[in-house]
């Protein structure tokens, strides 16, 4: 990427915009490059348009395709409901089911973004080789797609939530109610997005160097899900297990997401601290790693 941006003082040049680029082997290619961020901002529409075009191409431009964005989360939820509640045979009620929906959809956002993100650089072949642009736009576009696919799932979530909170009889197993604290789910979701963006950048980079990362990904993410408070509540965990969850990056994020959204409870302050640290820490690492390796990507494709 150019290191000395800005309009050159070209004496007697015509009125058109002149840009001067100097390409050198620089070692300082970390996040300080202002020109890079300017270009990224100027070309943000590319990321949006790419995400939109890809979503249209895969499913959303037919009536059924759009329906699928809603149907897919319903089916997923049904499978888990069948598995855990009916076959598992616990006395688990609406509280549990709604928690499961919220956590599952949040986790799928992460999973989907990581899977799609791993393909962005490797799959962007020709564009990466032939156009000079901030490659960060490619994983960001995958992020945007993942978030767009997540939003319809909230409709499903709130449909169930409203039914149980407003119409279903209250019991020990149904304590669901609307509350102002649920608004805290918005910052919790923000943390989830920041964390997911960091993971997406890491996967995009890793796939360039190890082309089988995307093969391992489904197994790794599934295992990760079982170790996280998705199929159970964070507060249900045994104390000794909770100690280890400090090292599970997604634990605190899912915990505050679930507590606020489902239970209308603020959750523990320490969870919020952990969630903020993991989200921004992961994002920072992802960004630094991606930017440090970005110039090498075209050489490695």
């Amino acid at each position: 990427m150019p290191t000395a941006p800005g309009p050159a003082a070209a004496p007697g040049a015509p009125a058109d915009v002149r840009e001067r680029h100097v390409y050198e082997p620089t070692s300082s290619r970390l996040t300080t490059d202002r020109h890079y961020w300017r270009e990224l901002w100027e070309r943000r529409h590319f990321a949006l348009e790419l995400s939109r075009a890809e979503m249209d191409a895969t499913h959303s431009n037919t009536a059924f395709g759009r329906l699928w964005l809603l149907l897919n989360p319903v089916l997923t939820a049904s499978v888990y409901f069948l598995l855990v509640v009916i076959i598992g045979g616990g006395r688990k009620g609406p509280d549990y089911f709604v928690h499961l929906l919220g956590a599952l959809f949040a986790f799928h956002l992460l999973q989907g973004a990581m899977t799609a993100g791993s393909q962005t650089i490797v799959g962007g072949g020709k564009l990466v080789l032939n156009t000079s642009f901030p490659l960060l736009l490619l994983p960001l576009s995958a992020m945007r797609t993942a978030v767009s696919k997540f939003l319809p799932t909230l409709i499903i979530f709130f449909a169930f939530f409203s039914y149980f909170a407003l119409f279903a009889p209250k019991s020990d197993a149904n304590t669901l109610h609307f509350s102002v604290v649920q608004l805290m789910a918005i910052p919790a979701f923000g943390l989830l997005v920041v964390f997911t963006a960091g993971m997406t950048l890491l996967m995009a980079t890793a796939q360039v160097y190890f082309r089988d990362v995307s093969n391992f990904l489904p197994y790794v993410t599934r295992m990760w899900m079982y170790l996280s408070p998705v199929l159970y509540f964070a507060w249900q965990m045994k104390p000794w297990m909770l100690k280890f969850e400090i090292f599970n990056p997604i634990f605190a994020i899912l915990a505050v997401w679930g507590e606020t959204l489902v239970r209308g409870d603020f959750g523990l302050p320490s969870w919020w601290l952990m969630a903020v640290a993991w989200a921004f820490g992961t994002f920072a690492i992802g960004l630094v790693v991606f930017r440090a390796k970005e110039r090498e990507f075209p050489v490695r494709l």
Binding site: H21, Y23, P25, L50, A53, E54, K126, L127, D212, V299
Partner: protein, 263 residues
Amino acid sequence: MTDATTPAAEPAIVVSDLHVSYRTTMERRPTLRKAIVRLGRHERTVRTVDALKGLSFEVPRGSVLGVIGRNGAGKSTLMRTMAGILPPTKGRVEVVGRTSTLLSLGVGFNKDLSGRENIVLGALAAGLTRAEIDERYDDIAAFADIGEFIDMPIRSYSAGMTSRLAFSVAVHQNPDILLIDEALSTGDAAFKERANAKMKEMVAQASTMVLISHALASVRTLCDECIWLDHGELVMHGPPDDVIRAYVHKLKVTESAVVMEDL
């Protein structure tokens, strides 16, 4: 150097002592599994390919530089470095102006998207605004002239149709500097003629151009200057006629070179 333009013209591209190396793995497909298996054995699997070894030259504003050389000489590598896609390993490249690249692979990076979407995405990635694209879209489509295929996935295009699209997108960005890498090799005669006319028109507007081609005749007619690369080194830099004559002469005397050219 020849005096292609006015002597006062500031060079549009200055390449000084440019080295570019690729770092490539010996493995056909680098995988995590292999990396883990290799851990215990301390094998080195990274190989360095020195594609460019100390090039220096300038391209004056408004002139057309031809680049010729055998397959693997480093022409595309040079182009990608001038476009800011590949980082130099050593040395530096200075470019004044907005560049537009047209490399042999062309647009059409996403085969599932239509020609229309690829035009818009390619142009957005290259830095055009939506307004600029809306304004130029019809011209781009008309110049490419591929009929209703514009709304079909790129997957269904012939090689020539893809390169028409790529060329059309590149020339309609109103670049100060246009980099073309063998883009016309697959176009048909009619399109080549139109493309040549368009390139002449752009040169007349004082656009700077670098043209890589194995079609020596078009290098001869379009270029003001020519460089000949071989194994990443600059063999000759001068008027196209002289450089092409020397290049052809070399091809004839070295039999292996002729064989290389056929590959």
